[in-house]
Symmetry: C2
Amino acid sequence: MKIGIVGYGNLGKGVECAIRQNPDMELYGIFTRRAPESLKTLTGANVYSLDDILSHKGKVDVLIICSGSATDLPEQTPYLAKHFNVVDSFDTHAKIPEHFARVDEASREAGTVAMISVGWDPGMFSLNRLYLEVILPEGKTYTFWGKGVSQGHSDAIRRIEGVLDARQYTIPVPEAMQSVRSGENPDLTVRQKHTRECFVVAKEGADKAKIEQQIKTMPNYFADYDTTVHFISLEELKRDHSGIPHGGSVIRCGQTGLNGENKHVVEYSIKLDSNPEFTSSVLVSYARAAVKMSAEGICGCKTVFDVAPKYLTDKTLFEINKELL
Amino acid sequence: MKIGIVGYGNLGKGVECAIRQNPDMELYGIFTRRAPESLKTLTGANVYSLDDILSHKGKVDVLIICSGSATDLPEQTPYLAKHFNVVDSFDTHAKIPEHFARVDEASREAGTVAMISVGWDPGMFSLNRLYLEVILPEGKTYTFWGKGVSQGHSDAIRRIEGVLDARQYTIPVPEAMQSVRSGENPDLTVRQKHTRECFVVAKEGADKAKIEQQIKTMPNYFADYDTTVHFISLEELKRDHSGIPHGGSVIRCGQTGLNGENKHVVEYSIKLDSNPEFTSSVLVSYARAAVKMSAEGICGCKTVFDVAPKYLTDKTLFEINKELL
């Protein structure tokens, strides 16, 4: 199957690499808003102008849209779903129903499959929240994120006056995870679940005490958390904090039996060297599903909840029932 | 939806309890080969003779068949699928393709949905093996079982001369799990992955040294493992080993990037107080899916790979996209 990539940031590069791991796939090309000839790709892929994308209609089986959730995806996904099967990683949880409605209308009219909110959260974590809730209806689900870099929180620090650069790590509180894993079903406040650790490069002469105070009291981002701030040099930031690791866990403890006398703890956890590359790998699997479902005449907006696992693999049903069941 | 239970052992009792946790479900009754009036159920459910089950056709939405994989399910599932939507937990991995073929023929002809091999392995572990293999195609998947009671191995010990009763625990080797979790992708022999611990009650005057020797050298069951044998009293066995706990993990370590430079470790793990009750809870969720899929006109033999997650819940797609995605 021929796959097109829209947008060439970390996610787009991850998709470019992931396609090479799947022998049934071929990278058709990368569509960019930049001047195509200015783009140096990792694998020497074809690069096209996003403005001309409609001229490629019929030549691409599915587009993976690797743009940002804030302003790009709400425009691009419904627009492109009118002409192509598409997959995106829209991750603004609160706006998913609205995004779904717009994409669903476009894709139903065009007869395409449009998968939204694919990745690990939303995505694989969502799947586990659903599977666990239905299997253990009496229980409680917890999601922990980290240890990992939060791009949004890092950006928020960079906007403070006197800050040259910054990196923020979200860290789950070990005692909270331990309590959940032991089946205690604790009530946890925001502060009890995660801490935040910031590595900040201050501009020369900047008031560090003031910067630290501004970070720790920032509403929504930091005020509700125990936050640690370290001032380091630009060299140290580049040397020690240039990776984009992430991770997290979905944990559910539930009870069964005539009187709930038996406890069960289920945990899905991930530890990633590269957050965008793992997300890209999930996107590529669901791109395969989009093509296979489209070939069966299915259309409309889909999420991970709509996709039977068999559509994700290039193996036959007979093979997976024999080898993996 | 109205659910019938076929067979009333530990699994059937677990299903009876699990149905009460799901407000959209109702227990229609239990079908048994024993004399119905001899059966004392946990919840006072209706009990019917299995011989008369066809007279209940049209009154039950789905049957959960809670019989054994060795001899009962290969007969019962294809037979009952000719008349009802059914779910079973057939777990003889090597014979799944054969079981699938027979059940598929029966259910297609009858227009019913027949879900086979539902539980945690096969079942939830199979799902995770598939999801992880497609997301991280370059990598290695490991399945560990335990710590938990293996019924088959306990039975094998009980067949030895001089043994009154026995309980066998399968235990994953901590160092092996640690190596896998750290992303080393080790090659592990059978012996390196699991150990076996046996608690044996010997008959009076029995030759304990001989029993221990017979256990440790038993082909297929114990010879390939490091096995520990403890002789205990019947009282100790009843006091300390009457539960049916189990657990395990599916772990995959894979790499991504242009040259596989980034590692990712994903782990799905379960810790169960009651192995049969957790399996029952999975069966009940897939019974809901069978009814919902049947209502959409779908028919034939299905495994967990065929079931889109949305079919498992009684919530609407809008609700799960809003609440769980």
